[in-house]
Symmetry: C2
Subunit: 360 residues, 2 copies
């Protein structure tokens, strides 16, 4: 059980939050049109740029990533959008695009499969699309899509905007945004960043801003040009979640104290550990070679009662996730992103073993 | 100076936040698809319904009220929207409506004037509009518009949707949403609710939901039907700002402990005190009889250097606001909403007197 009397979160969002971060949320607010605010703003932006290896503009947004999905397509789609879909979240980005009234197609692969370069190449070669959306890490299936390989293909299509959801990989996995040529990279903070939910981050290329100027009916809240006008003054267009900004400041300090290289390595080590456990006890759901580095989707090859398993773990103070949507009963998911440490996972795996034994 | 070493906020958002509220933000998150979450959700909704005297559905939104402006018009406007404008914020709601690609007219009054029943009646009598937007309390000019009188007029126009921004009056002033027939009532939490910024609340009538079903291109994030689907399960469509929900829970407990009647009376008393000070030392900017109950816009009749005045107060630990936009240099503003108590205002007014003397 977590020190707060609540179960410790090993679910893919909201994730476990360290006490230091929660304490940062108690800082008294400052006016959002003051120099102290802009100092905080600049501090966050430069930290995030380092984490994303980018010189692109960073926007700090008071919404969840669901809002940023909408922002990304509203500011770019003029012809037609190709939404690549490999699970529930990438599918929802497509729904969101359609609900904005934008022309879009969902390009599907089977659940558990990754979206590979050939599919992207064949789709974009039709010339039908001016925008594509790609979910780096699909938390519903535990698949991490091959972003680097896709970025190579995207170089063939300089006129197609490259929008990437890194909701559950940003800051946990090395992603060199500029090197990869990503136009919009977006994430909420309650996943890899390990903050409480309620805030999101995106990096936006200059090319995106040029195109945004040609898009209509974007509204005000998610218009990148409005965000940009204020970003130039180190401000946000409306009063943002200042508590989240204090939390993010503390988290960036912690990230740089650990060191980016060590942080990425820790996530890789955690994934190795959980995958080894899963392969030994049951199986892995994702296609071989595309298993996520930040959460593991275990295939229920033993046919255990997953709800019972989850309930027993909950009683012991640990919350994991069941299968998402059609995968309910067939899989369960363990998140190992953000502030989950090696000892946390070792403890969880040992309690999981103990619990499986009880259930036998 | 505030106990945190930061100036105490007497600005109209973000407002002063009590330590008890800040401490509530440190509570460890829960999964947003759990029973504990839904219990928290229901607790907030029933509390907000009491504060707003409504049985309408309440949505808890992870955005600022700027986002809810957009939500309100995207879910209602099919013919044409009348945006009544009496200052910077009501003007921005018009901008937001236009930027959504919706047909809209701004119906202006002079800065400092209120939007009165005759203007609304004459405008709607044209039959051009199916939606009207009304800002109850315009923080840029310190005008509180006569919501009750407008509600009477609106009874003549049952087919015109009545959208009300109560950003800086909700919970501080008695507003009987059902009695007044308000279709959408919206507010951020960093004003009257006295939470840190980053979250917002709206109440939505069944009529609004019926009309929303006929509106296109609403997107997903601000679609009331999507919010409604999840609200029926006591959930939000995406992961909300759980820290703000913890803060709001604590604040509702505090509000009911004070008593709604006492709370409304306190705001009225605070306003009387600040207005009396302003009239004695300088003047009041708003039209007589329409002065806001939650912030006072002082007219700089003595021609003092307002920036110098604000800086001196800041050094002593108190932050007030200057004039907004074209009113810069001509007015300054003192917020007395939310958790500002009588002793806080007495202290501020005394320091303001002392500071004005120093400047002579």
């Amino acid at each position: 059980m977590n020190i707060t009397g609540k179960p410790k979160l090993f679910i893919p969002g909201p994730t476990h939050v360290d006490e230091e971060i929660l304490n940062a949320f108690t800082e008294y607010p400052v006016g959002h049109r003051t120099a102290s605010f802009s100092e905080l703003y600049d501090n966050l932006v430069s930290g995030i740029q380092k984490v994303l290896f980018t010189d692109n503009t960073i926007y700090l947004c008071t919404c969840t990533a669901t809002g940023l999905w909408e922002a990304a397509v509203r500011n770019t789609v003029r012809k037609r959008c190709a939404n690549f879909v490999c699970g529930a979240f990438s599918s929802r980005w497509h729904d969101s695009t359609v609900m904005c009234g934008l022309p879009a197609d969902a390009i599907h692969v089977e659940l558990g499969e990754a979206i590979k370069p050939e599919l992207v190449d064949n789709t974009l070669a039709t010339g039908k699309y001016d925008v594509m959306t790609y979910v780096h890490n699909e938390t519903s299936t535990g698949v991490m899509n091959p972003l680097g390989e896709i970025a190579e293909i995207m170089k063939k299509y300089p006129d197609v905007m490259f929008l990437v959801d890194m909701v559950s990989s940003m800051s946990s996995v090395k992603i060199e945004v500029d090197e990869l040529g990503i136009d919009v990279a977006l994430a909420s903070v309650q996943k890899g960043w390990a903050l409480p939910p309620g805030f999101s981050i995106c990096s936006v290329s200059n090319k995106t801003l040029d195109i945004s100027a040609k898009c209509d009916n974007k509204g005000l809240y998610f218009d990148f040009l409005v965000l940009d006008k204020y970003a130039k003054r180190s401000q946000t267009p409306s009063t943002p979640s200042i508590p989240h900004m204090y939390g993010l400041k503390r988290q960036l300090e912690r990230i740089f104290a650990e060191g980016l290289k060590n942080r990425f390595q820790r996530h890789s080590d955690l994934a190795d550990l959980v995958r080894a456990w899963a392969l030994d006890r049951m199986g892995l759901f994702p296609e071989l070679g595309y298993e996520s580095a930040t959460l593991t989707c275990v295939e229920n090859t033993k046919g255990i009662d997953i709800t019972d398993f989850q309930d027993r773990l909950l009683h012991k103070g640990y919350m994991i996730s069941g299968g998402y949507g059609p995968l309910k009963g067939k899989t369960f998911r363990i998140s190992h992103m953000g502030d989950i440490m090696l000892t946390d996972i070792e403890e969880l795996l040992s309690v999981m073993d103990e619990t499986l034994n009880e259930m036998n």
